[in-house]
């Protein structure tokens, strides 16, 4: 049979890391084909090779039966491929149409033909019912619209094979449904879609067949109709994991964190608008919301990294005017959203990374002089206690994998035993096994009587971990509901800002 897209024995290595090994992928024309796998399984790497951004070390890629060699994305585009990347690849300061025509611009006598560009982009958007104002700057667009721009980019190049790398991670359920409608329309148009994800229900809902990767190898290949979620999970992880969090009922105590009337930013639409939150000792308060609705700004304002107006009290003490270090001193621990960009420094040693935020502690420095033996000692203890896989405390953390790096951050922040723990996307980009462990630790913190403020874009995580749930939408707390009563559907509507329907 003639495959629309086929790879034979594709292998890709990054130094010691083998991202793909002997991958055989077979995709029929006009189907939606899922590529599944845990974090780091090699999905993005495989897609990058299909799209010409990376070159395989070994193996062949065939399109409609003909072998191809891509040296750049341009070659792939020329062969009818289009890709929507896991991390959006947009030019913030340019307009929608500029983003879309970039690299394939309509020109007249050497000049950019603006009118033709706008017209063709707008026409395309209309045809696939992708509503977007083509003259707006991307900077001003919401995540959902940005994704439409990404899809339009591929369609503008008349992509016959469209690769969508984890397209739903940043969408509300409603936006996701809209995307699925587009995908179906494209399929009916005769196009082939490669759909990368690790969300099972999406695979079951939209795809025709599925290929599962584990540690760079294909472990399963089947028609979706014939497979079961259990089989896919096992193929992905090599074992069966439960994603349910085991936790007992909460016993909330005194108020630890009280935020009142917090506003961040100015103008008619501030990033955080008049938010009030209370977190008690011994409970986990989860903030649900689609990324970009002010959660990061809220957390940064509480942590002191961003100016804001309003009252923030920690165990009754007003900390709104305190600096970052003083807030930490007052009892705040903080696992930041991005461990590599915020939580660690690649060039720092493990001991140095574990010291950050505690360098003023009497046990670790005196009169501004570091107590180096004590610092090393503590680092060794934390490495051992948290099972961080690193050669020594003097090794640089830049070489650690995502899961290990996250362990470093968590070890450091929990060592505080601070009354308030802020955990922002604590399991993002961490694989399934590690997720279980991290969840267990957060619950343990709660049970030890600490107040936990959790922020997550992953609905299952918020639902599974929290005792109370706040939904954030466009900078406001839209609703508060006990976790026991919340459902995924209701949460999804709230995250999309649809209070009426959710009620």
């Amino acid at each position: 049979m003639q495959w629309e897209l086929e790879t034979i024995g594709v292998t890709k290595r990054f130094g010691p890391v083998t991202a793909n090994e002997g991958v055989d992928l077979r995709v029929k024309k006009g189907e939606v084909h899922a590529v599944m796998g845990e974090n780091g399984a090699g999905k993005s790497t495989l897609m990058s090779m299909l799209y010409g951004l990376l070159q395989p070390d070994d193996g062949e890629i065939l399109i409609a039966g003909r072998q191809v060699h891509f040296t750049s994305a341009l070659d792939a585009i020329g062969h009818g491929l289009g890709m929507v990347h896991q991390a959006f690849q947009l030019f913030e300061e340019l307009t929608v149409w500029e983003n879309i025509v970039m690299g394939a611009e309509p020109a007249r006598r050497g000049f950019l033909d603006r009118r033709r560009a706008i017209a063709s982009v707008a026409g395309l958007a209309e045809r696939y019912d992708l509503k977007v104002d083509v003259t707006q700057r991307v900077r001003d667009l919401s995540v959902g619209i940005r994704q439409r721009v990404e899809i339009l980019k591929a369609l503008y190049r008349d992509a016959q094979i469209l690769i969508l790398d984890e397209p739903t991670a940043v969408l509300t359920p409603q936006e996701r449904d809209g995307l699925f409608a587009v995908i179906r329309a494209l399929r009916d148009d005769g196009r082939t879609i490669l759909f990368v994800t690790h969300k099972l229900h999406e695979v079951m809902e939209i795809t025709d067949s599925v290929t599962v990767l584990r540690q760079g190898r294909v472990t399963e290949r089947m028609a979706t109709k014939e497979s079961t979620p259990e089989a896919i999970i096992t193929a992905m992880t090599g074992r069966s994991v439960s994603l349910d969090v085991a936790k007992g009922p909460a016993t909330p105590g005194e108020i630890v964190l009280q935020v009142a009337g917090l506003t961040v930013g100015q103008g008619p639409k501030p990033a955080v608008a008049d938010v009030s939150i209370t977190v008690r000792a011994g409970e986990i308060v989860g903030i649900a919301g689609v990324a970009g609705n002010g959660q990061s700004e809220l957390i940064e304002a509480i942590a002191g990294l961003r100016p804001g107006s309003g009252r923030v009290t920690l165990k009754g003490r007003d900390i709104a005017s305190l600096r970052v270090a003083e807030r930490r001193e007052a009892g705040l621990a903080y696992i930041p959203e991005d461990r590599a960009a915020t939580g660690t420094a690649a060039g720092a040693t493990a001991a140095e990374t574990l010291l950050m935020g505690r360098q003023g502690d009497a046990a670790l420095s005196r009169g501004g002089l570091l107590n180096l033996p004590a610092i090393s000692e503590r680092a060794r203890r934390l490495i051992a206690q948290n099972d961080i896989r690193i050669s020594s405390e003097r090794a640089k953390v830049g070489t650690l994998s995502g899961g290990n790096l996250q362990k470093v951050v968590i070890a450091r922040e929990l060592d505080h035993e601070a009354p308030l723990l802020i955990a922002e996307q604590p399991t993002r980009g961490v694989d399934v096994g590690a997720i279980e462990a991290i969840h267990a630790r957060i619950v343990a913190e709660r049970d030890a009587g600490r107040a936990v403020l959790l922020v997550s874009a992953e609905m299952s995580e918020v639902l599974g971990l929290s005792d109370r749930i706040l939904v954030m939408y466009e900078g406001r707390i839209l609703a508060e509901l006990p976790a026991s009563e919340a459902t995924e559907a209701q949460l999804g509507l709230l995250m999309a800002g649809r209070t009426g329907e959710a009620a």
């Binding site: 942590a303 990294l305 420094a345 140095e352 570091l370």
Partner: protein
């Protein structure tokens, strides 16, 4: 300047070797014998009778390397060394001259006050650039550089007019009062060397053993990480620039009080200590101990270069070319042997 975080010690010896090879090729092309030229450089720098020359050249150069290394350690660049060294030198000359007129003080006290004032003045001047970045968002690279021009202009005017020593034809101040000069100690060891050694030791100690040193290093590696950990990066920028400027001021004071005994217009700028120092600090990736070594290396290279020009008429600017090539190779080191990543991704 977040991207400077990628400065890491690399195959510096390889870079030096490459520089020497290219230098040798240039010498061959112009019909000189590279071996002879390099021997002259080495002898010119290290033969017993030249030791003093090398040291007296190394003191300001190493000082300026250290001054450049401190901000670099925190991922910042101070291009205003010229203005800072000039202010230091100027203050170090003017303070004892006029202080001695006002109150009779012993010479060593005059010198001490002069040096402290010089460090303070230069430190504040440099901190102004940091203020420009933290308060106004003018990149320090630019504000520090631009601040040099008024500093040089003002001191040059002051030495040309109100404070000029009218008994000579030069634009220079009167000599500092007797006793306020820094004494020569013994052999090649001078008071300036002693002062600089103390400062070098202090900077290395701060870098390795203290909280501010740790915080500055972390900032250099990842500024967001430092902020997240409670480091007050704006105040830190002021502090780092103050320290950098103060060391530049000390260098100016040492040259004035030890070598010229007065402030001469242009004497602190024309040798390009600032740029050589910056090169050395870059070569060292901001590490103060390595910056000192690199500064000394450049000083030897330059002193040897002068000797080479005297002895065999090979232009001494060759040593400047060598330095530049070494720096270029150091900055290219990621590509050297590192293999190319996915299709030239920048």
């Amino acid at each position: 300047m977040e991207r400077l975080k990628s400065l890491r010690p690399g195959p510096v010896p390889l870079a030096i070797l490459s520089g020497l090879v290219i230098g040798a090729l240039m010498l061959l092309v112009s019909g000189d014998n590279p071996l002879v030229a390099y021997r002259e450089i080495v002898e010119g720098a290290f033969a017993p009778r030249n030791w003093r020359n090398t040291l007296s050249w190394a003191i300001p150069l190493v000082g300026m390397s250290l001054a450049a290394a401190i901000p670099l350690r925190g991922g910042m660049v101070n291009l205003g060394g010229d203005g800072q060294i000039v202010i230091g030198g100027f203050v170090a000359a003017v303070v004892p001259i006029y202080l001695a007129d006002a109150v009779p003080l012993p010479g060593f006290l005059l010198a001490a006050i002069a040096i402290l004032c010089a460090m303070l003045a230069s430190g504040l001047w440099a901190a102004l650039a940091a203020l420009g970045e933290t308060r106004l968002g003018i990149p320090m690279l630019i504000s520090s550089l631009l601040l040099s021009y008024p500093a040089i202009g003002l001191t040059s005017w002051a030495t040309g007019f109100p404070l000029r020593d009218t008994s000579t034809g030069l634009t220079q101040t009167r000599p500092v009062p007797p006793g306020a000069e820094l004494p020569e100690l013994f052999g090649p060891v001078t008071m300036g060397l002693v002062l600089l050694t103390i400062v070098v030791a202090a900077v290395i100690y701060v870098d390795r053993r203290t909280v501010p040193g740790y915080e500055l290093r972390m900032r250099g590696l990842n500024r967001r990480f430092a902020e997240y950990g409670g480091v007050r990066t704006e105040r830190q920028a002021l502090g780092a620039m103050f320290a950098s400027g103060a060391i530049a001021g000390l260098v100016g004071a040492i040259v004035v009080l030890e070598v010229h005994h007065r402030f001469q217009n242009g004497a602190l700028v024309s040798p390009s200590y600032t740029w050589s120092g910056l090169m050395a600090a870059l070569l060292a990736g901001g590490n103060p101990a390595r910056a000192v070594l690199a500064g000394f290396f450049f000083a030897a290279l330059q002193t040897g270069g002068f000797a080479m020009q005297r002895e065999i008429q090979v232009p001494r600017v060759l040593s400047m070319v060598l330095q530049a090539i070494i720096i270029l190779f150091v900055s290219l080191r990621y590509g050297v042997g590192g293999g190319r990543g996915p299709k030239d991704r920048p």
